[in-house]
Structures are given as structure tokens and as C-alpha cells.
Symmetry: C2
Subunit: 336 residues, 2 copies
């Protein structure tokens, strides 16, 4: 592999899956996203969830305010809403008019604030039809929560295939894909099925979660898996297949929530993501593959214009900061 120059300039990236949270955490995390990304698709599992027009508008405003105090003001939050049982077409239309580009399907009990999630796609038939007509992307947390933890993604695939069968025109993203089975389903699935890939699922395995001690800062859902799964994810990214694009699934929790027994699931990866990806592609791929993965394929899948601005990355001995507010980021304290 050819080393990158010590200073590279690339099209500004998009993060197609991020949790910005609310209140004080949002004020810290949104500017950090703005530092690295031109746009980010913001997940709706706030409390209360973003599931109607008013909440979507006020959440977007809250995010923009959090950005406005900082130097990187060009950041655009892309909005999503949370699907709920028996959601009506008119509600989807209102959300679409308010700017939503994706509706998120959380299977009941699958992750943070998903106790009110979906049991079966049949509960959201009307919403899925509306989304298909309006060109709104279905974003799926693809796990069957009552399966064995390492097989939840695999066991969700039959439900995914049913949705594909019933809504052949619906665009679907299998989010934060974590297993060889999931990767294979996306590769062999239809062209309107894509997947986001996080930096942590690309780099770490169960060894980093429970291999020595327990590292709660590497605990997320879906959990990081085996070297074989990581290899499949790596191969997907390096294949240049445009179905696979970057979504950080950066999901900050306060340190106190991570360290208690039963620690919250979610890795705050935004501060480390781009430098880690640059290193990964320098070692394994090329600058073109990098740029496609973080700045092009996501926008293309969502039919968004490509960003015009660029970001310059310089080779320096940088350390990932140890803390943001009281949140410990991915690879905190490591040199990157």
C-alpha cells in the first residue's frame, strides 16, 4: 500500500448515523460532529422520541443552537423519526415535509430507549408504504433482541427479507452492521438495501470488550463480535461496494452510566472516527476508497448532493482527548 501524504485534503465527510442526545450532552457532542462532518443523520431515540413534526422541528433547532456557539457552523443535521406501532401515513407525510429523510425501526428491547419499539413489520405497514412512496429511507436497528447476543443480527434477517419482499421500492439501511451474516445479506440483497458501518465494528472484537478485563467503553449494541465478523466488515469496506458507507453510531453516555453494573450500551466515537479511518485506509486501502466510504456513498444512497467543502488532515502525533464533559470517547488517550 502507498502511504498517504502527510497532509491530505478530502471532500468533507458525512456521518450517516449518529446519536447527538439532548441537553448538556448535545451541547458537547454536536460541535464535535460539526468539527469532522458536514452533515450527520441524527437518530431519534431521544426521550421523548422524535416521532412527530413538532418534536423534529424543535430537536433540529436545539441541535442548530448547540452548533451556533462554535466555529464550525456549516454543519447540517439530517433528521430522522422513530417509527411506532400503527403510525399513520399522514404522520409520515408531516415528518417528511418537516425535513425527515429517514424513519428508524427499533425492534422492541433492542437498545437504548427502545422499550416502546416494534414487534413486527406488520405493525408499521401504513408507515412503510408511505415512506416507500415518499422516498424516505427505512433505517433499521437489525437485531432480534431475544436471540443469543452474537446471533441477534443474523436472526433479524428473515424479518428484513419480509420487509424487502413487501416493499420492493423502499430504500433500507441495515445500521451499524456487525456480522458476516449481515454483510452477506446486504451484498446479495437488492440495490436499494445498504448498510452503515461504524469505526468500532471495523476495528475491534469481543477481545476488546471482555478479552482482558471488561471495557465498558467498548460496549455497544450490536456488540462487537468475532475476528471472522470483523474480517467480513473489513472486506466489505475495502471492496468499494457502494452499498456500504460510514455511520459512526457514536452514542455518548456519561462515564457514571457506563461504569455502573449493567453499563449503558454505546461508544462515543466521533472524536476518533476520522483519524482512525484515515489510518485504516492508509494501511489497507486507498485515499479514493476512504473518500467514497466517508464522503460519497452515503450521500448517493440518500440522493443528497455531494459536499463541496473539504477537510484537511495532517499527520501529527495526536492523542484522542480523555474526556468530553464526563464522557469518555472511543480510544481515549490513545495516539492516533
Amino acid at each position: 500500500m502507498k502511504s498517504f501524504s502527510d497532509k491530505i485534503s478530502i471532500r468533507k465527510p458525512d456521518d450517516m448515523h449518529v446519536h447527538l442526545r439532548q441537553g448538556e450532552i448535545l451541547k458537547v457532542c454536536a460541535p464535535e460532529s460539526a468539527k469532522w462532518f458536514e452533515r450527520a443523520l441524527v437518530m431519534p431515540n431521544t426521550n421523548p422520541p422524535i416521532n412527530n413534526r413538532e418534536r423534529l422541528i424543535s430537536y433540529k433547532k436545539e441541535i442548530e443552537e448547540a452548533i451556533s456557539y462554535h466555529e464550525n457552523k456549516t454543519f447540517t443535521p439530517l433528521m430522522s423519526f422513530k417509527l411506532y406501532p400503527e403510525m399513520k401515513e399522514e404522520d409520515v407525510i408531516k415528518l417528511s415535509e418537516a425535513g425527515a429523510i429517514a424513519g428508524k425501526l427499533y425492534p422492541e428491547g433492542s437498545t437504548t430507549n427502545s422499550e416502546d419499539g416494534i414487534k413486527s413489520w406488520e405493525q408499521i405497514k401504513e408507515a412503510l408504504s408511505a415512506m416507500s412512496k415518499l422516498g424516505i429511507v427505512l433505517s433499521i436497528h437489525g437485531e432480534k433482541p431475544d436471540s443469543f447476543v452474537l446471533e441477534r443480527e443474523k436472526d433479524y434477517l428473515p424479518e428484513l427479507f419480509k420487509i424487502i419482499e413487501h416493499y420492493p421500492d423502499l430504500k433500507i439501511v441495515l445500521e451499524h452492521i456487525s456480522s458476516a451474516d449481515g454483510i452477506n445479506a446486504v451484498i446479495t440483497g437488492p440495490a436499494n438495501l445498504g448498510a452503515t458501518i461504524t469505526v468500532h465494528h471495523l476495528l475491534i472484537t469481543l477481545d476488546d470488550l471482555i478479552g482482558q478485563g471488561i471495557d465498558p467503553h467498548n460496549f455497544c449494541k450490536p456488540v462487537v463480535k468475532t475476528p471472522k465478523d470483523r474480517e467480513a466488515i473489513k472486506n466489505a469496506v475495502l471492496s468499494g461496494n457502494r452499498k456500504f458507507f460510514f455511520g459512526s453510531d457514536s452514542a455518548p453516555h456519561l462515564e457514571s452510566a457506563k461504569l455502573k453494573a449493567g453499563g449503558s450500551a454505546g461508544i462515543f466515537s466521533v472524536p476518533a472516527a476520522i483519524p482512525l479511518l484515515v489510518s485504516f485506509f492508509e494501511k489497507n486501502g486507498s485515499q479514493e476508497l476512504l473518500e467514497n466510504f466517508i464522503s460519497k456513498y452515503g450521500a448517493e444512497f440518500y440522493k443528497l448532493p455531494l459536499n463541496k467543502s473539504s477537510i484537511t488532515l495532517e499527520r501529527k502525533e495526536n492523542k484522542i482527548p480523555g474526556k468530553f464533559l464526563d464522557i469518555i470517547p472511543f480510544m481515549a488517550g490513545f495516539f492516533i
Copy 2:
């Protein structure tokens, strides 16, 4: 399956693998072992380790003192020593004379206090020869520490086979066996290869460690694995194969050490083990299989006389206590 009587009396069990620790923790844990077991094989990974005659004698005395203040005074600690590189035959002889019945092999870096462990069986040739001659059992923490966390036991097996090949008369116990591969190796291996099975590897999987949140109280080494591995362990226990016998691997740590980032590996299972095993065998096996597993096969493997006393277990609505000192036991607060 036929339900057990509401009150059963069985030969008093032996725990063929336990960590009693030192100092204040020992004072709490030793009496709890004495409550349930007639004898227990005490692991030598204290700090400093039990690796010479003097330490073995003084550790045994410390254990006996911890017991002496309590009502169950018939408890006998069976002693083991920790193998170290280039250990001499005369050291093994001295330990044998002092009462050691097993020498423990910790691969370097495999678990608590194993930084000074063994890199290869060739480092302990003289000791293994001596043990073989003296009839001292080789007790192995069978993990290759630099392998993927779920494959460490499988990847240790080639080293185990080399030891078996070079010391055909040496009795060997693969401790706290945790995988289908390990079970298969013991079943197909020679008659002088046995294995201890813990109550947690028999009952729980990764789901109980990282399936919802993280539960550091279910974190141990080897880590609990997949339903397939648990099924193999269950089948081994229920087959009545005398190569498999009970060893709790009860390994208390203070709550503070469990809950910190990187929490210590080890489950304090002695307070829950026998009631859980009674329930398991009532549901899946028989009283005879239970008694063989906890009170007979271990003693027979070590050529110890069977215990003459018995323990009476009565069906009551009991809760596992929530805390001992500052140690949270396996299944704390659960009804058993």
C-alpha cells in the same frame, strides 16, 4: 424427570477447584465453603503464590484458622501449588510431603495473578516428571491467552496433547472447562484426563455477561460462551461420565474491583452452587447423577476416600444472600 423429595440427604460434596483468597476475604469465604463441602482443592494463585513447602503449610494453617471460629469444623482444605519455570524435582517432593495433591499450571497472562505463568510445558519438564512419579495431579487453566477470547480453550488443546504425549501416566485436570471443543477433548482423551465443571459454565452464556447490559458479576475466565458450548457441558454432566466432576472455581473479588473499568475476572459461586446444582439435576438428571458429580467422581479421580458424612438439603424458598463482606455472590438476591 422425577422430582426429588422435599428433603434429600446426599454424601457431603467436594469442591475440586476453589479460590479462598487471603486475609479478610478468606475469613468470609472459607466458612462458606465449609458450610457446603467436606473438602475443597484450594488454588495457589495467592499473592505471593503457594509455590513452596513453607507457604503451603502456612496457607493451610491460615485456612484452618478461618474455619475454626465457625460451626462447620470438619472441612479439609486440599492443597495445591503453583508451577513455575524450571521448578525442581526436590521442590515438588517437598510440596508433596507437605500435603500437596495437585500442581497448577497457569499459562502466562491467563488470569488473576498469572503474569509470572508458564509459556510452554517445556519450562516445567522436571516438575511434570516428578508429579507423574509421585501421583500429583496436573491442574491446568487451559487457555492460550493471546488467542481470540472465545477460542482460547480450543487453542490450548495442542499444548495439552503434547503434555499427555510426553507424560502418559500423569493425571491431568482441564479446569473450569468452558467449550464444546474442550469437552470433546476430554471425552476422547485418555482415562487419566479429567475436567472440572463450574456451576456458572453449566448455566449461563455470554447473554448473561453482555446480552442486556454488562454484568461484571458474571465475568470470569474462561469467559462463559455460547449456547452450543453450554449444551456440550450440560450433556457431559448428564452423561454420567466419571471424567467430569464439580469444581466451583468460586473466585471472590470485592465489589469495588468488579465494578471498576476492567473489572476483575471471577465469580463467587460457593453460596449458590449446591442449591443450583440440585435444581439442575432435578430438572435434567437424577439424584444419583448429582451425587456422582459433586461427591464421588472428583474424589475417585484424586484417589481420595469418599466422604462418610452427608448433607441434608430441604426445599425452601431461599434467596441467595446479596453480599458477603463486600463481595456479591453468583445469583445474588435470586430465589433458588
